[in-house]
């Protein structure tokens, strides 16, 4: 029981369409358990309900039906909502729209300031968080002068300074250039491996999904596939049916096998393919 970070039971989220008077179901009866220290990837194309699912994990949205428990606290418990948000931090897509202050370190301090942490402790947390994301040199800079990847790392530091157990990343790289994506992805992996944070990464990039320990594929508000990256991407046809792509290397291996070459189909990286060939 104690090693469960987030538990979702029969979670449904409905919302009313503004244009027509109909009820749309964004998330439909999802059951999902995230263990402490896990690196979970949620995959899905636009409108698959993955962002809605993420926003229910820290009480930004309350499920219409079913329960979400974060470290044993139900998100419907309004009195404990701030505890939940402290435990499960969230990094959003657009770095520009989540940075509040005009100086990097002031922004990182925003979370702990809200929690009423004493001043000395805030100072320490801000310095530590900036150290982890390797942005200490930019402490006194203005955020708008930083690159996209740097801004996103500042946003991550802002969450880290709240000392959460779990960090949810809602498409953190989709607005970044390739080098920014690499920076952010490395930081995320570092947080999981060195800081022991539970990571939930929402993405539609396949090469990012490969990094996780477990992959959940969502479509039309439901979980369609679940398992290790190797296990999930082996089902090339099924994934294509859901409107997603498999990593290029995996697809190459799949096609090679189909045309009669004896090769494993659970290949995820270029190195693996090179070894096999």
């Amino acid at each position: 029981m104690n090693d469960i970070m987030i538990e979702m039971k029969d979670v449904v989220f409905e919302y009313k369409s503004y244009i027509e008077d109909e009820i749309l179901v964004a998330v439909n009866k999802v059951n999902l358990t995230v263990k402490k220290g896990e690196f979970l990837v949620i995959l899905g194309h636009n409108g698959s309900g993955k962002s809605t699912l993420a926003k229910m994990m820290n009480g930004l949205l309350i499920p219409t039906d079913g329960d979400v428990n974060v470290m044993g606290i139900n998100t419907k418990d309004e009195e404990k909502i701030w505890d939940i948000r402290q435990k499960a931090g969230m990094v959003f897509q657009n770095p520009d729209n989540q940075i509040v202050a005009t100086i990097v370190e002031e922004d990182v301090a925003f979370g702990p300031e809200n929690q009423g942490i004493p001043q000395d402790e805030i100072r320490k947390r801000v310095d530590d968080a900036l150290e982890i994301v390797e942005m200490s040199a930019y402490k006194k800079h203005a955020p708008h002068l930083l690159s996209g990847g740097q801004k996103q790392r500042v946003a991550i530091a802002g969450i880290l300074a709240m000392n959460p157990d779990c960090i949810i990343f809602d498409e953190p790289t989709s607005m970044l250039d390739p080098s920014g994506r690499t920076e952010v992805l490395q930081t995320i992996k570092k947080l999981n491996q060195e800081q022991g944070k539970t990571i939930i990464l929402i993405t539609h990039y396949m090469d990012e999904a490969v990094q996780g320990e477990r992959v959940v594929v969502m479509s039309k508000g439901e979980i369609k596939l679940e398992g290790s990256p190797k296990g999930v991407f082996k089902k090339v046809d099924k994934i294509k049916e859901l409107g997603l792509d498999v990593p290029q290397v995996t697809e190459l291996a799949y096609e090679l096998q189909k045309s009669g070459i004896n090769i494993n189909e659970d290949i995820l990286t270029i190195e693996e393919l090179l070894n096999v060939l």
Binding site: M90, N97, E106, G111, G116, R123, H144, M162
Partner: protein, 265 residues
């Protein structure tokens, strides 16, 4: 064109003026403005000029920065000057058609123009030597006593911080939309004023839509970071008054009291 806006521009430094507590600086500026409007003759202006010059030299802000801040207001200052020159009745020096220049008008106009120049220099010195964040912190602290009568001091300061934070972002966005619309044949540069104003519509609509979207996302991000208003909030950089701050405040208060008293001499 948009990059020239210098509101709230900060000139970083480590001088005595920069390090002075923002609350003290704001109070001094308030006293400064009050005395500017209280003074009714020329001679106390000698002290005001001395005060400004000493403050500028202590702050090590290049004089051209201050002059740059005055430039956009030159027009207003000029108009004030001209109106005062022609509209004040008194001893006529010479006549220009229906307008006549009087001795009183000339002195009144110079007085008004000087008052405006001092006003702008003083306040821009405040923004040049105080980082936006300590400025808003200072305002929040100074307004706190008025919370009891319903003034939301924390909310006001938070709004100012966010506004300052988003000025560069929105300027960049305006630039981007402008280029995008120009690429589609929008024309922002020709025609008379009315036509030009009409041409701004394709710029303003997307800008506003985006600003609202940004505000929404920012609000969610702030909530995710446990923001729940000013109650029980701590600060990374707490403002602290030391003896030097109080000393400077006291001597400045005396100085402005002296300037105010010149009215009654």
């Amino acid at each position: 064109m948009l990059k020239d806006i210098t509101i709230g521009q900060y000139f970083p430094g480590e001088t005595i003026i920069h390090r002075l507590d923002p609350r003290i600086k704001i109070s001094i500026i308030v006293m400064f403005i009050t005395s500017l409007f209280f003074v009714n003759r020329f001679f106390p202006y000698i002290f005001i000029v001395a005060f400004i010059l000493i403050a500028i030299s202590l702050s090590k802000v290049p004089i051209k920065f201050i002059i740059k801040g005055l430039r956009p207001l030159m027009f207003i200052i000029l108009i004030t000057f001209l109106i005062n020159v022609f509209m004040t009745k008194g001893e006529v020096i010479f006549t220009l058609g229906p307008l006549s220049v009087t001795k009183e008008g000339l002195s009144q106009a110079t007085f008004m123009a000087l008052r405006l120049v001092f006003l702008v220099t003083g306040t821009s010195l405040l923004t040049l030597t105080t980082s936006p964040i300590s400025l808003t912190d200072g305002i929040e602290e100074l307004l706190k006593p008025f919370k009891r009568i319903g003034l939301p001091s924390h909310e006001l300061a938070m709004m100012m911080t966010i506004a300052l934070r988003f000025i560069p972002t929105l300027l960049e966005e305006t630039d981007k939309i402008m280029k995008a619309q120009m690429a589609r044949g929008a024309d922002f540069e020709s025609g008379n004023i009315i036509k030009r104003a009409k041409n701004l519509v394709p710029l303003l609509v997307p800008l506003f839509v985006n600003a609202f979207r940004r505000a929404d996302e920012l609000a969610i991000a702030m909530e995710a970071r446990c923001y729940r208003g000013g109650e029980g909030r701590t600060r990374l950089n707490e403002l602290k008054l030391d003896k030097k701050d109080i000393g400077i405040f006291a001597s400045m208060a005396l100085f402005f009291l002296f300037i105010l008293s010149t009215r009654f001499i």
